[in-house]
């Protein structure tokens, strides 16, 4: 142990009733480095970081911060040790402004009155010195996800954090935003902060981390300097064997038009017209990617297609039949599947088991008189658990107690199980490790080749370019370009994200 270690975790073990999430983990974060933590879904990354942040207690092991042994019982302890954490799901208060969110819990008082001026100055100083530009007076509900993330970062910096833990921060960012994010991280470490980043994107690790630690099934596989490795080596280290070949997507000729959005208008929750006359055709046997910076109307389109949001005008045709007023159940019965964007809110019932979640759409198949055949339900879930490599492989496991990536796999298993004709896939690989992501992409490609029409909502350029046939760019609720995937370059996509279509 030297003065240059910001955090040293020694022999951390954490057992959950069904799994050993952390098994004698040793981990060192050096002062002033960006340290990437990577590993398969369910490897134990979040658990380890929750332990460091005081959200969970280790069964055994020691934590040292700047060379001093410490015990961390709750996030307040962590904060007083200058440790801050940003979770993948942000914890901001939407009706409050940026500055209010940042101040929350650390208000500066002057005889009991909030000293906004002083707080504001501190925030502005912080954001200038790290390039975290935000408008302090906007409401959270009005700013993009990337901006919200900056607010989260500012908040922990404001609280005085020197050791930053970021759990999958880039999953919600568009490519351009990721580049900016990398620059921000660099500035943070040059000013003496130390950063732990959890990510599944190997390319990012190579781009902006100094060292990385690979964990697998709760154990550390290796800690190494990023300059010594390439993405390929990292991947095979993580999954324990060579990554299979890239996703094979034959650019087959698409079939007839299957789903058609015609001049759709829709409002967002605040009553603004978020979708402004979108017209799109998706053909059988094609993957159409709808891409653009988050918050440009994608969410509303997804919800309209799920039957939970009414379009204010326009029509939706499925095989030339109007389905605008279909309920979610009718949509499902006419062969539509929907992988929602927010798996916590829309996708899963956390207290239900894996099997019960998979059956949310198909439970009518198990009805016997008034009863539901839970035994059959569990039985059927077992094979899906195997197909999609869901871990832990137990149909009776509560979904709320699974890792983020495995939760996503449960949704995908449910949606793809009975050969849908039309699939809306919103960020289907968000939060998945490389192996799982390529499995899901391969499954989507298979569905397409089987003849399904797929609308893929994503801003992962590699994913889009690899599996999409055509790409539509959305900006400000309008489609500004639809092109064949082979005609588009990354640069053009980048411009499209900014609303520039030539």
């Amino acid at each position: 142990m030297t003065e240059t270690d910001a955090v040293k975790l020694t022999n951390i073990t954490k057992r959950f009733p069904s799994v050993l999430a952390n098994d004698n983990i040793n981990f060192v974060l050096k002062k002033g480095e960006i340290h990437a933590l990577l590993g398969e879904n369910g490897a134990g990354k979040t658990t380890l970081m929750n332990i460091l942040y005081g959200l969970q207690r280790a069964d055994s092991g020691t934590i040292e911060v700047y060379g001093r042994p410490v015990s961390i019982h709750n996030p307040n302890d962590a904060l007083s040790l200058k440790i801050g954490m940003v979770h993948q799901h942000f914890m901001l208060f939407e009706p409050f402004t940026v500055i209010e969110n940042i101040m929350l819990g650390r208000e500066i008082h002057q005889c009991g009155v909030l000293d906004r001026k002083k707080a504001r100055k501190k925030v502005v100083d912080l954001s200038e010195s790290f390039g975290l530009t935000v408008d302090p007076d906007s409401y959270i509900s009005e700013i993009s996800v990337a901006m919200q993330q900056r607010v989260e970062l500012l908040r922990i910096l404001y609280q005085g954090a020197d050791i930053l833990i970021l759990d999958e921060p880039t999953a919600v960012l568009s490519p351009q935003e990721i580049v900016e994010f990398g620059a921000i991280l660099r500035k943070l470490v040059t000013s003496g902060k130390s950063v732990i980043v959890i990510t599944h994107k190997l390319k990012e690790i190579i781009d902006f981390a100094d060292r990385c630690t690979v964990v697998s099934r709760g154990k550390v596989v290796n800690t190494l300097s990023v300059s010594d490795v390439d993405a390929h080596a990292l991947a095979s280290m993580m999954i324990g064997h060579e990554l299979q070949a890239q996703v094979q997507s034959h650019k087959n000729a698409p079939g007839p038009r299957l789903l058609s959005l015609q001049n759709i208008y829709a409002e967002d929750d605040r009553g603004h017209t978020a979708v402004q006359g979108v017209t799109l055709d998706v053909h059988a046997g094609e993957i159409l990617a709808l891409t653009g910076v988050d918050g440009n109307g994608q969410r509303e389109i997804i919800e309209v297609l799920a039957g939970v949001r009414k379009a204010s005008s326009g029509s939706i045709l499925l095989r030339d039949q109007e389905i605008q007023n279909y309920s979610p159940r009718m949509l499902y019965e006419s062969g539509c599947a929907n992988i929602p964007e927010d798996r916590h809110k829309d996708g899963l019932v956390f207290k239900f088991t894996v099997a019960e979640n998979i059956a949310l759409r198909t439970y009518r198949n198990y009805v016997e008189g008034p009863f539901l055949r839970f035994d059959k339900m569990n039985h059927d879930a077992v094979s899906l658990i195997q197909d999609f490599n869901i871990y832990p492989a137990d149909p009776m496991h509560a979904v709320g107690e699974m890792s983020g990536g495995n939760q996503q796999k449960v949704i995908i298993a449910r949606e793809l199980v009975d050969n849908p004709e039309f699939i809306v896939a919103a960020h289907p690989t968000r939060g998945l490790d490389v192996g799982a992501a390529s499995y899901v992409q391969q499954s989507l490609v298979q569905e397409k080749e089987r003849g399904a029409a797929i609308l893929l909502i994503s801003f992962d350029l590699d994913e889009i370019l690899q599996i999409a046939n055509r790409i539509a760019i959305i900006y400000n609720g309008k489609i500004i370009a639809v092109k064949s995937a082979s005609d588009l370059t990354r640069e053009q996509l980048g411009l499209g994200f900014a609303g520039i279509a030539e």
Binding site: D167, A306, G307, H344, G347, V349, E356, Y363, G404
Partner: protein
Amino acid sequence: MKKRNLTRTITLVSAILLGFTAGGIFLFFSGYSPLRALEKLFLGIFGRPRYVIWVMVRAVPLVLTGLSVAVAYKAGLFNIGAEGQFIIGALVAALVGYHVRLPMVLHIPFVFLCSMIGGAVFGGIAGILKARYGIQEVISTILLNWIALYSNNFLLKFPGIKRPDSEASFQVRETAQIDLFARFKTSDSWIPFQMENPAIADALKASLSMGVFVAILAAIIVHYLLKRTTLGYQIRAVGFNENASRYQGIPVNWIKSGSLAISGALAGLGGSLHVLGVTKEVSRLAIMEGFGFDGISVALIGASNPLGILLSSFFFSGIRYGAVSVQRDLGTPTEIINITIGTIVFFVAIPYLFERIMLAIKKRKEQKNAN
């Protein structure tokens, strides 16, 4: 799972101890011996076989209203209206029990059915108001309680319903009464039986009714309803995550209205059992009797679990019944007993609420960190 049950049991036991301690302090400062009161309370519940039976008989309405609150709660709804649904069930039972003539085997089930329908309609109204117009069930069920109370009082003004020279309805016919052994106790063989089996005879002196068995059966049915049936699956899904349920195509609004209707049916059955087994009639109500409100506490203490509700109803009914002995023997004023009971309920319910809130916060945190 196991661990959580253990902590819950510990919370519950310590809450009960705390409650009794607090009650004891009240008694002490009013000049009564808490220990003697406790002794009397215990003897008042378990001192004679018939006391135990009485406690069970009096627990019957609480089991039903407790189950009623629990079913709605599983669907994420707070049914404050068990009180009104109970009143409607009782009123219907009194009317159908007197005005309809059927042989016993048909009459009793027919009264049950009608009361359940009455309660279900009453609960269902709140459900439809919620599902259709988004009106909070907490508000609408409170208002419906008053409507039930005044409907009861209003109908009891009419000749044909009101028994002449009384404030009550006609008594239900014998074919609709559910007491057990009533005949036996007035027969000739009763006296020799009493001599030979004093303990059993003592137990039989309490007016044991079919209600006890119906209540236990209802708890079992609700257990299976929630755990094993399609409807139970839907109710639980909606209760845990309404958004996801809607997104996945579960008819959320139907399920909500439906669960409130079932909830109403259970409370209505409670009213029915109370009339057919105990009161035989309904009277003008100056205030709410509180069976439905007690059901909320019962469901809370019983963790909305049918078996838990059976136990908590017995507990609840026990301290109420035992308190009568304390009052009679020690002369404690009623208020003190009520304060004591209130304190116990408070201490039992608050940690449970507290635990739920803590759990919810923790869960939310964990969910947010699940990645």
